[in-house]
Amino acid sequence: MNKLSQNKILIPLVILLSIILGIYLAISSIDSYIQNNELSIKNGNWIVNPNMDLKDNYQRAYIARIGVFALDEKEALYFLASKDSDGEILSSNFDYQIIGKPPKGRYWSYTLYGEDYFLVKNDNDIHAINKENFDINKPIIISSKRKEVNWLPSGNEKEFYINLRIYNPEKDVYENLESIKLPQIKRIEL
């Protein structure tokens, strides 16, 4: 094979492999950001992404992956927890209690999502505790075992996420995301 023929094969091959490598590295880097919450604001065991109208391509790719079609921070805040207050991964093998009030806003809700970011499967069709269906006299319990009130079924999930949504949060909330007091997620024995 002469040099010209070698180049004819090698150059397109190098280009093709390099394109594949670039795509792979890009997807891996966004996955890594998701795994390590590197592009989020952290507050205790919660993370939040306030700036939905983004100029930064990484932030936009990151948010498109974990919360596509979300709203901006004045309309809604989405606090996400994958760990309890002691830093342990949330799992339906354990029971949890949410301690403390959500930040002030017009409406709040707690929702559980599985590792795939879809609603946790449960036979009771209970997917959220919100401002209206919440019994103020009882704690919010996350458990795979049925409870009478304020119960968020955790189904059968090796790992899950808790999403705390605040609609129309007060200005003091969205301007102080790193320091506002957020509820704690405590592992409990039932």
Partner: protein, 171 residues
């Protein structure tokens, strides 16, 4: 040796370009996949409103759906002219209208507190205007979501809000 360096340089430049284009295009790809799912799985065309039920654990169209919301969505296309969004909305619960670019950036949102009353009456256009009910889209094609909060999940409440949801039209 010289050839190897040239190949490595070529590989670096192409990988770098491919990496940055992928990062830039991830939101657009996610948008296109969602568009494909809606058109093929839900049999909904552009400029057609789809009224969804309250999401449950079988819902797989969008990650992290809010199970307290009734969603109505449309992929809008202003190529053939303006669109009118109309409907009778709830008067005592949160609802909002939001618009997104194909790169998934939310460029407009307005909720019930910002509307004069519970009559939804908007024109979506590409032509400049500063009228209250005219929404000037920065893109010819995009996505809109109408969210209605259903705080209580009893059948009566759900039926009431669904009837309102069905009143929303896009023409």
């Amino acid at each position: 040796m010289k050839k190897l360096i040239l190949y490595l340089l070529l590989s670096f430049i192409v990988s770098y370009g491919s990496y940055n284009i992928t990062i830039l295009m991830i939101p657009n790809i996610i948008y296109k996949v969602f568009h494909y799912k809606i058109v093929n799985n839900q049999n909904v065309q552009d400029n057609e409103l789809k009224h969804f039920n309250i999401p449950n654990d079988q819902s797989r169209d969008v990650v992290m759906p809010n199970p307290d919301f009734l969603y109505s969505t449309s992929f809008y296309d202003l190529s053939n002219g303006d669109l009118n969004l109309k409907g009778k909305m709830p008067d005592s619960t949160y609802w909002s209208v939001s618009f997104y670019k194909p790169n998934t950036v939310n460029w407009f949102v307005k909720n019930d507190n910002e509307f004069i009353d519970n009559n939804l009456d908007m024109k979506i256009t590409l032509s400049n205007s500063d009228q209250e009910n005219i929404i000037v889209s920065p893109v010819k094609k995009g996505f809109m979501i109408i969210r209605i909060l259903v705080e209580k999940k009893d059948n009566k409440s759900i039926d009431y809000y669904k009837a309102l949801q069905k009143s929303i039209t896009l023409n």
